[in-house]
Amino acid sequence: MSLTHLQRLEAEAIHIFREVAATASRPVMLYSIGKDSSVMLHLARKAFYPAKPPFPLLHVDTTWKFREMIAFRDQTVADLGLELIVHVNLDGLEQNIGPFTHGSSIHTHVMKTLGLRQALDKYGFDAAFGGARRDEEKSRAKERIFSFRNAQHAWDPKNQRPEMWKTYNTRVAPGESIRIFPLSNWTELDIWQYILKEEIPIVPLYFADRRPIVERDGMMIMVDDERMPLAEGEKAENRLVRFRTLGCYPLTGAIDSSATTVSDIVREMLTARTSERQGRLIDKDEAGSMEKKKREGYF
């Protein structure tokens, strides 16, 4: 019997997970709570069944995530009995770095990129799984499944290791590391179809609901807590929306939608005319913005 499309993607991801577990000395899975992380975690559990995944989860918390995300994160690790490491960049916290005061670019760099680097160094992780997909963005389309980083966590896009067949070179010197993307060959639609088929739990923010929304720069921002400053006369309005991707709430735009089930979302996806990263403010800061972040150590 020939494998279906999703079965092929699943088998490929499982193979990748096992290669890393068998060769890395200290692997970790970056868990960002979004739909891709949910799928990645599901696959990791399948890869090592009946054993548990032989690595902890790491969440680099910018302290600006939606509250529902944090609740979902804690529930998930409790339900599955997994080890979770939460890391916050305390230097950034001390300087009160935030998206409203410092802008998306500085906020993301300090709280996410630097925070991630701190965490990897602190625990000495030499291999880190990430949920990035090649269909998300142009520079990601160029990245290997096993993406090598030097001791400064930097990515050199002009000098990537050849990646032949599925014979991966997993060797690194002390201090160096590899980022591994088991979902490289998945598209956004594949992710949703897989969530539908496997009934994978996801954060409720992906489903439509009435939420307090303020419009800024053409994006619908949800007022998730009192830290969001409202301009004079500005008032949150309850609108029926959902999120296509999840990040820091001040940087993530909602979309008008009435999709309340995964089936609804898949149906909506099939007629979508815009890409998912359109709702992410951090990609638009400057040209080649994602590649720049990645070279600095962002996922």
Partner: protein, 630 residues
């Protein structure tokens, strides 16, 4: 996807998705020379099949105005060239992967770079592809890169070629130009073993024959590119092939469960089937096929499973489970085609790490049979392989590995070579066949071993490996050290680099290739001598880190003691006991270490002897002390 979707009624969503999922997958690459329009072609393909989102299109229009090379029009290449350096230079550096589907099939396309410098990235894309679209600029005809890419495609096992004769608009849609190029391509690619070669005249920029037949070429009656991609006959998975599963890891969550996890490389397996463990030859029976979705009664190519056997037998990562009726090869010597990626040339005799899908082992290229000339495909004699060169060689591994011929199995017949120091992937290989001598020469087990011999001598065997510049004082120190050890009743031998060159290594010169072989032989002899129970003192310049590492790997932990005889080059040149520096500086001596050939200093030697201000006797005593303290 989008174009089809609007017609989906809610109640048929499940059916629709099931149908989408069952579509066959075609993986293809676009390749060819620089500026033949590869990225533009894929951009056009995505655009015409309406697979570009509105916001991406808006970005593209903006970028085209800024970076574009297509004048007023949309520059489709900018959809693919995602790296800053690529956009600035208007070239493709690395492979971009794109995913799309039509009513007939799913596609993964790898857009690969045309520059010779980035051949490794093209090979990366080709290694997993079923079909290659080789582009040719109609004005330029077949170029060197066209031939190289066609050859690499065939080498990596790609069965189908589309010859896209692009920019046909720029030669006035001339049928004769198309026919000439197609004819020339068929003549040279005829011997490369492709199942199909399909030439198509097209203009990626204007869309002729990409997704719709062009009205401007009434003389062309063949398929469009997309039409061909949707219908070309694929071999598919042949489940009749013998069962193979490289073992990735042993899953052992508790005392009661022991399973072997892997992805089935070929064939089919069912509960109750017999299997053989390739390396040990032990057989067993499949007791269960475990997955997180429940146990299976059978599984086949491509599936990731965990196999539980009826017997407790020793199996670890790097081994392979196979059908006992048709076993993989097990050998420590084989012939292979090798593509070289590194700026550091491949040198026969140098030790690399060979990695198959799950096995990893020390290996050396024992002989380079020939190099392939990319233009004529003829075989040329060569001493080493440089970046982007392709050769056929014999390879020896430290212990036998399990494999198949690449032509029989792309998964179990491939390997990569990794540099021991930088960990870079320096080459990729496709195994042809095991060497006869490997299968016929067995290890003869001997009853008296190294420990027994050493015990009789009341000593612990070791190799003291003295490295440093010519004239650093290695031989003098070695000589004094041996006298010290001899006086205290130790059984020793000095292997002196110069002396060995008079006999065992008299056929070797001083080129980098010969130096590598020189050290390999000295290391092997030193190994035999330690096995005989001796304390061996090697005195050899041994300038390259890789070879000293290779030598170290021949010995058990603590047995190999690297001694860096650290005398500054200026001092050595001043001493010049053999008058060699004078000759080298006058240009009379080629490849002289320190002058015209590099010396790579040891990074972490067990003993670092700074010779300045110390006499050789003191230094020898220092080594003796280290030995005594072991």
């Amino acid at each position: 996807m989008t174009a089809l979707a609007s017609s989906v009624a809610p109640d048929t969503l499940q059916d629709y998705l099931a149908e989408q999922e069952a579509k066959p997958l075609l993986r293809f690459i676009t390749c060819g020379s620089v500026d033949d329009g590869k990225s533009t072609l894929i951009g056009r393909l995505l655009y015409d099949t309406k697979l570009i989102f509105d916001d991406q299109l808006a970005t593209l229009e903006r970028d085209s105005a800024r970076h574009g090379t297509a004048g007023e029009e949309i520059d489709f290449a900018l959809l693919l060239d995602g790296l800053e350096a690529e956009r600035e230079q208007g070239i493709t550096i690395d492979v971009a992967y794109r995913y799309f589907a039509t009513a007939e099939r799913r596609f993964i396309v790898a857009d690969s770079p045309g520059h010779e410098e980035y051949t490794r990235n093209m090979a990366t894309g080709a290694s997993t592809a079923d079909l290659a679209v080789v582009l040719v600029d109609a004005r330029q005809g077949i170029l060197r890169q066209t031939r190289r890419h066609a050859y690499i495609a065939s080498l990596l096992g790609i069965r189908h070629i589309v010859l896209a004769v692009n920019k046909i608009d720029l030669v006035g849609y001339d049928e004769a130009v198309f026919a000439d190029i197609a004819g020339e391509f068929r003549r040279f690619a005829g011997d490369l073993g492709f199942a199909t070669i399909t030439p198509i005249p097209m203009s990626a920029r204007h869309g002729d024959n990409v997704t719709t037949n062009s009205a401007r070429m009434p003389w062309y009656a063949g398929p469009t590119l997309l039409g061909h991609l949707e219908t070309v006959q694929l071999a598919g998975e042949d489940l009749g092939r013998p069962f193979r599963m490289p073992v990735q890891l042993v899953t052992r969550p508790d005392q009661d469960f022991r399973g072997f996890a892997g992805q089935i490389a070929s064939g089919r397996i069912a509960v109750g089937d017999s299997i053989v463990v390739a390396k040990s030859g032990r057989t067993s029976v499949v007791k269960a096929l475990v997955t997180a979705d429940g146990d299976l009664s059978s599984a086949s190519e491509g599936q990731a499973v965990t196999i539980v056997l009826s017997d407790e037998i020793d199996i670890s990562r790097g081994d392979m489970l196979a059908t006992p009726n048709d076993r993989p090869q097990l050998a420590d010597q084989f012939m292979a085609h090798l593509v070289w990626f590194s700026t550091e040339p491949m040198m026969p005799g140098r030790s690399y790490i060979l990695r198959t899908e799950t096995d990893s082992i020390s290996a050396t290229v024992t002989g380079l049979k020939y190099q392939v000339d990319i233009n004529t495909f003829s075989h040329e004699a060569a001493k080493s392989l440089h970046m982007n060169e392709i050769g056929v060689c014999n390879i020896a591994t430290q212990a036998p590995i399990a494999f198949d011929s690449y032509k029989d199995n792309r998964t179990t017949g491939n390997f990569v070579l990794i540099d021991r120091l930088t960990n870079a992937t320096v080459g990729a290989g496709m195994i042809d066949h095991p060497l006869r001598r490997a299968t016929n020469v067995q290890w003869q087990a001997l009853d008296i071993d190294q420990n027994a011999r050493a015990a009789l001598k009341h000593q612990k065997p070791a190799v003291l490996w003295l490295t440093g510049y010519s004239g650093a004082g290695k031989s003098t120190i070695a000589n004094m050290l041996e006298k010290l050890l001899h006086a205290s009743g130790r059984h020793t031998y000095v292997l002196d680099g110069d002396n060995v060159r008079h006999g065992l290594n008299r056929d070797l010169g001083f080129t980098p290739e010969d130096r590598v072989e020189n050290i390999r032989r000295i290391a092997e002899v030193a190994r035999l001598m330690t096995q005989a129970g001796l304390i061996v003192i090697v005195s050899a310049i041994s300038p390259f880190r890789s070879e000293r590492r290779m030598a170290r790997d021949l010995f058990s932990d603590g047995e190999f003691i690297e001694v860096f005889v650290d005398t500054p080059l200026e001092e050595c040149a001043k001493r010049d006991p053999k008058g060699l520096y004078k000759k080298a500086m006058a240009g009379e001596l080629q490849n002289f270490t320190g002058i015209s050939s590099p010396y790579e200093q040891p990074e972490a030697p067990e003993i670092h002897l700074k010779t300045a201000g110390h006499d050789p006797g003191e230094l020898a005593a220092q080594i003796e002390q280290y030995l005594a303290g072991r």
